[in-house]
Every structure is written in C-alpha cells, then in structure tokens.
Symmetry: C2
Subunit: 477 residues, 2 copies
C-alpha cells in the first residue's frame, strides 16, 4: 500500500472511528454474540484476492462491532475501567504510523528517551521520589512476573548465572493474600517457585487487607523451617473489592528480612494522581518494585502498564543480554530497555502517554477521577440506606461491592445457594439486556456484584440510572 | 477529547503520517542524534497546561523524527527487516480506535475469534498441518519464555502446582547453539533453569547449523549423569547468519527422549509463506512449539509474533488462571487467550494481520519476499566475485554476511584486530553518513557485516547502490 492509498483509507478510517465512538452509548454494553458467531462470519481460508478498503469498514460494522463488549460505554461497570481516551489513541496512531523498531537505543533513540521522560512525568504526578526509574510493560501481569524473577534472583544469589533455581539453598517463599489478583499466583508459578511456596496471609475480615502481624509470623515460621523468604506482593486496590494492603507496615517487615517487596497497584495507581489518595499507599517508597496501569482508570489506551524499580542495577543484571549484533557506540551512555523486561522488541508506547497528558491534561484527568470517587460514594450511600441491600467492603476508590438480600417466604434473609442464585439472576438480567454491565465475584464463598465506576463518559446521571436498573432487576422474579 | 475533536486531529495526523512515509527516502537512515538529545528537548516536568494538536505534530517533526533510525527506509539493511506495511498500520489504527479490552472471550468475543481465524490463516499459508493452534504474542522473546516454561513443566511433572522447580528430581537441561538468538539464553535464565543447565551444541563450522549427532551425545551424557533433558531450541534462521538447524534430525532426537522442542523461526517464518522455502524447516511438524514474527520480513507492524503449539491442553494447564471475577457463561465453549500466555490483558492485534492480508494480499507479499531473495543472491554473487571480499555464511534467505579482507603493507591478507578495525571503520563510515545502515556481528571471534535485505521499499537498484557504497567505503582510508 502506498502512502497515498494509506492517506485515502486513513481518512475514511478516522471518520469511521469518530462515528463509532459517537454511537457507543446506543450500543448494547455486553456483546450479544454467541460463542463462534464471529468466527463463522469469517472465511475459514485466507483471502485469495485483495479487497477494497470499504469492504473492511463494512466488516468492522457488520462483524466486529457486534462482537465487542463496549468497555467505553458509559453504562459499563464491569471488571475495572479500561478507558481508551481519544487523546491517547492519537498517540497510539502516531506510534503505528511511525513504524519504529525498539530493540536498542540505537534502533530508535526517540522511543527510548520519550519513554524515560514520560515515565518520569508519571513518577512526579503520583508523588514518588526520584529514586524510582520506570518503564512501560504491556500489562501488570508481565510486570509481576518480572518482579517475581527479580525477587527470586536476589534471594538465590543470582542463581540464573549458575545452576538455576534448583541450586538455591532452600525453598524460596512468596507471600501475598487471597485478594491478590490472579496474575500474582500465576507469576509465582511461572517464575518457578511452585504453588506450595506461595503463602496467602490472613486478611482483615472486613477490609480484606493483609494483616502485617500474620505476615511477620509466617516469615518467622518459614525461617525456623529453614526456608528462604524471597518476595512479598502487596495489593493496593485488589481486584474483587479494591482492598488496600498496608504498605508501610508490610514494608517494615520486608526490610527487616531483606525480602523483595512488589506493590501491585495496577488499578489504584491512577488514584495516586490525586494527592488526597496517596495515603492509601503510604510506605511505597520502601518497596522494591511497583506496577500500575494508566490503561485502566487514568485512560491511556491499553497496553500501558508502568513498572518502576529502585535498584536498576539489579534489574539489568537479571534481565540483560548483550549480543554483539546489538552493540553500538552509545552503549553505556544510554538506557537499553531491552534489559528492563522480557521482550527484546518494543512499540513506541510512550507516545500514548505523551499525547494523553499534553492533549487532555492532568487537570481534566484529576477532575474526572474525583467525579468517579464522588459517584461511588453516592452509590454506596444509596445502597446502604436501602432495605435488604448491603455494601460488602469499604469503598476505598470507585468500586462498590453490593448484594441484595431479600427475605424468603419464611421472612428470613435469603442465604446459601438460594442467595447466590438470586444474585446471579438479577445481575444476569441486566447484563443480558445490554443496558448495563457489571461483574460478579465470589467473596467469602458467596457471589456478589462489583459496580466498578470510572468509564470516561460515565456521569452521575448514568450511575443514578444504573441504581434504578439494579433495584428493578433485583425486585423481579 | 470528544469524537469531533478526535476526527479533526485524526485527519491531520493521517496526513502527517502519509507525508512522513513519503519523505523517508530523503532522511538519514540512522538517527543522527546524540545520547540524551531527545530527552533534553523535552520538558523535565509534566505539562501543566493542555496544548493544541498542532504543537504535537510540530514536535513529531522537530524532536521525534530526527530521533528515529528509519527502519522503513529502503537503504536500511540493519538487524532484520522490521516492516510496518501501511495496510497493517490501518489495522492497528482500527484496533486503537475501537479501544477494546481483551481479558476474556466475554470482554471482546471478536478479539478472540478474529485472532483464532487469522492465526489459522497464517498456519495454512505457511503449510502447517491443522494440529497446530496459534496465538499472537508481542515478540518471539516472550514466546520463547513461554516455551521454556512449557518444557520445564513437562519435564518436572507440573512442578508449578507443587514445590516448584526446586522440587524437580534432578537438574533440567536445555539444548541450543551459540547461534541462537540472545533471547533464548535469556528465556532459559528467566524460566529458572540457570545458565549452567544450557548446553550450546556444536555447530557445523560453515553452515552454523546444530549437529544432531552432537546433540544426541550431549543428551546421552546428561542422562548418564542423572540430569533431565527438558528442552531443545532449534533456530530456523538464526540472527547472525540466518543459520538453519536441521529440524527433522533434531526432532527425531527430541521425540526419542520426550524432550520439548521449540522452533525459533522468528525471522525465517516469513519465508515459509513461499512453498519453495519450506524445506528449510522440514520436520517442523514434529516440534512442540513454534514462533515466528510477521512483524519482521512479512511486514505486519510490530508487535505481531505468532506462537503455535500442538498440545493446547498442556499450554492451558501451565498458563491458566481462573478467578471468579472472570467467570462467564461462555466458559468451556470458547478460547481464553489469557490462558495461552503471560499477560492477562491483550490488544486487538489480530486486526493488523486481518487488514494486511486483505489489503496487500498474499500474492504481493510473496512477490516481495521473492524479490528480496533474488536481491540477496545478486549481492552474494557480487561479493563472491570481487577481489578481497568474502561471503562468510550460506545465504539461505535474505541476509548476506560479508567481510572485506584487503592486503596489508606486507601484501598479506589483513587479520586479527587490524581486520576488526578495518571492518568496523568502513561500516561506521556508511552508518554515520546516513546513506545506508547495516549491523555488525561477531563470527568466530571477528567482526563481520550483516547485509539484511528486505525492507518493503528496497528494490534491486537500492541493493546495487548499497554495494557501490560498501566498495567505496572499504577502499577509503
């Protein structure tokens, strides 16, 4: 395709995207397609002939859009917000158009240095000290695998350079809680620790925060058993209820024993753009690594996951390779991001953050986050003041965990499997209708509904409308 | 930013990209900036005020473009081709504009099912049987880490579910060659095997291909020592010289011992779009996993790395998590790509391949690949027939490894460090001039120059011009 052909098609595509974004509020939130429906709409064999660009736009309308759960929809309250601000989309488009190759500083100095600068901007905007250096990963899952490998190598005396994890003197142990995101257990397993060496520390029964005393005790027990405490993963805004582990108390335990402390703030990192929220990760300066995703609530389009460390030397020792075909005269004077993570090659992801901050601006982003915090508190108040409704966890940020507990035929609060059936039924009716979407999650063995507020276009009126939908659905039989 | 503001800025950006792509041939190939030059052109503090979109376009021209090594330039012959075909760029833009979230089938059924379909299209186009199932990773490095974890878990009896790699009965061993990409050794280290458990098998001194007899011997020795052979990484198109390990003979050894065989065809996978090249990976059907990057020679913009496995059950057992907040009624009927790799969330990468194949078409892609093979053979013939020039390795694909060995003052062929200085000097002059770019690499302890042909816009005339530049530079003192 020539640049002139691209120009023509590109203009059509921009119009298509702008039109699509405008019509999202009129689309069903959850994709209404059945399993296999998109697949069977596509030819099973690769195309034998080239096609006009218009045919692809038609297919976007006909096949793709119906197959999307509209996470940019103002009535989307599922999982966590996954905003794709149009300012950041422009940065992503610029990245695509440039077609750069990020395998070394030399292959694209601008890619490396803009990434250094915007990671430092975000460091400043979240109130972190300049002891932190950052890079962009695809997701917090990948950042966590990296953190677990960093922990493993510190605790095993850089076993990767010798006989590997098998050569470690004793079993290496990682500590977290049952509230930690599923990617934490996965990272522990992928890094080779084994599930038996992952300890879920007792939580506060209401806040779901890790109990630092229980952590200290578990570590003492492992030390007494001859095991090696290697890593702690502290959740700041855990997935189910946005539980907040007490970073400061955990960091005190970690530093006493020289244990690698990773802070998973994938969701709550965005909140740290608001100075009034930073008490939620008090103590973070004592951690060793930290991940948060602007591609969630802040809204820099996926994939934009920030990963910060304090000890860059250790990071590079663990993650570096230095083959001769990548040598250049700039070595030693520049950052080589290939030595900061798993993949060698990288996209020019920093442009997404660069565009987002320059075009939308931090003031507007902060105002939006505060709006969402207010909306969550409003919803919490409605639920708490309504008969037969419960708020199940502290509303630390923008997620409200709720359950409707009507009275059964005997006049007693519904419980057990009947309560689960009721919860999934009223939620299922809303999700199936396409009018709104929320996720369910299990808490203490019973289903609850997570109302995760924070889509860019979700206003107070949308949240009020949701509360009406919820009440109506829960009172239907 | 509203959709209407996006529409206006987007049109400006499309024009900017089309203009940029048109002017690439007039830009220096290697970025001419010094370390730190881009960084110091940017404000050290985050922007306090929002800016007009025009200011960003100005900065792209003023700061970013000079900081890019132009890998889309027709005189770029460095590393490996990193084509970003404009047809695939359109697919990438569509992906950005849609702003989808890929964390489960339910979060975007279209993302999952288009990925299934295009991975199967590429399977057919490279002549693989339908026993292979594919997914898209960011890079072959990540695919290799995944493969090494799959090998580790098979050889250790799924140690991740128990006491981890430390609980394995004996040291687990991986086999490859010194030609394997640096990401292979990195993957072995990251997966916890330890560098001492990576065996570099003897290579043929000219083809640099792994000697299967030496592999068989090394495995026998490890078995005799009580070690557990766990994985073999076979390179199809290794980085320095595009060396081709004999997959069939290696697969025979691997299957005899039940060792996981990963084929790294990151570069050469594109060649398998040509039926006449498929003999180069004969035996691939016996491998366990396979990675290749359409974002290299084929030209689907980075990041598009295909990863195929035959045993999806093992893949999912190793990589899966199944938290309740991701449950949906579609579970069991659909593919959950979160259980096929490291990250939970994914972009809608499949659109890049979908657009590329439908707009450029396989015929045009094949014709371009054949043109590049012809150009490489032409250059090889020129070098071989020129006095004092050497072709150092078989030209299996599009990379020609060369060295100029002039006579010294005593009339003897230059050798030792003086030869290295000469090689790096003539290459350095060309690269510094901006007229063309090639990479150096060390082969048998001495520097050589890799001419890696295959940029979309590189014609026979460009290669002829390069050969003139090379000769002129090598004869300069």
């Amino acid at each position: 395709m020539t640049p002139e052909e691209f120009r023509k098609a590109g203009h059509e595509l921009i119009d298509w995207i702008a039109d699509y974004r405008q019509k999202i509020p009129g689309l069903p939130v959850r994709a209404q397609v059945q399993p296999g429906e998109v697949r069977t709409a596509l030819p099973p064999q690769p195309p034998a002939k080239i096609e006009e660009f218009g045919a692809l736009l038609t297919d976007l309308d006909r096949i793709i859009v119906p197959g999307i759960t509209q996470v940019q929809h103002p009535m989307h309250y599922g999982w966590f917000p996954s905003n794709a601000s149009l300012a950041s989309v422009l940065g992503d488009i610029a990245s695509s158009g440039l077609g750069t190759l990020g395998i070394s500083w030399e292959s694209c100095p601008a890619l490396t240095e803009v990434e250094e600068v915007v990671c430092d901007w975000l460091r400043q905007l979240t109130g972190l000290s300049d002891r932190w250096k950052g890079t962009i990963h695809d997701t917090a899952s990948t950042a966590c695998v990296t953190a677990m490998i960093l922990a493993r190598e510190r605790a095993s005396g850089m076993s990767k350079n010798g006989s590997g994890l098998q050569g470690a003197a004793a079993p290496l142990i990682v500590y977290s809680t049952g509230q930690a995101h599923s990617s934490i257990a996965k990272a522990v397993q992928l890094a080779g620790f084994g599930n038996d060496n992952l300890r879920f520390i007792e939580e506060d029964p209401y806040t779901r925060a890790m109990l630092p005393g229980a952590l200290a005790l578990a570590i003492e027990q492992d030390l007494a058993a001859g095991n090696i405490p290697a890593g702690i993963v502290c959740s700041v805004g855990a997935t189910a209820t946005t539980a907040m582990d007490p970073v400061d108390a955990i960091a005190a335990v970690a530093s006493r024993h020289g244990i690698w402390l990773h802070v998973d703030a994938a969701m709550a990192g965005s909140a740290m753009l608001l100075p009034e929220c930073r008490h939620l990760w008090r103590g973070v300066e004592q951690a060793d690594s930290l991940a948060w995703n602007p591609h969630k609530w802040m809204g820099t389009i996926l994939d934009t996951a920030l990963f910060y460390v304090r000890d860059v030397d250790h990071l590079e020792r663990v993650m570096s390779t230095n083959p001769t075909y990548l040598h250049s005269s700039a070595d030693g004077q520049v950052t080589q991001y290939r030595d900061w993570g798993i993949p060698l090659g990288r996209r020019f992801r920093a442009l997404k953050l660069w565009f987002h901050l320059r075009l939308d601006g931090i003031d507007a982003i902060q105002a939006r986050l505060r709006r969402d915090l207010d909306n969550a508190q409003w919803l919490k108040a409605q639920v708490e003041s309504s008969e037969n409704w419960e708020v199940l966890a502290p509303v630390a940020l923008q997620t409200v965990c709720i359950r409707h507990v009507p009275l059964d035929d005997a006049g007693l609060p519904l419980c057990g499997d009947a309560l689960d059936r009721h919860t999934l039924a009223w939620l299922g009716r809303i999700n199936a209708s396409g009018a709104a979407f929320m996720s369910a999650s299990v808490l203490d063995g019973r289903w609850m509904v997570r109302v995760s507020i924070g889509v860019e276009d979700t206003t107070a009126a949308h949240v009020a409308r949701l509360w009406e939908l919820i009440q109506a659905s829960a009172s239907t039989n």
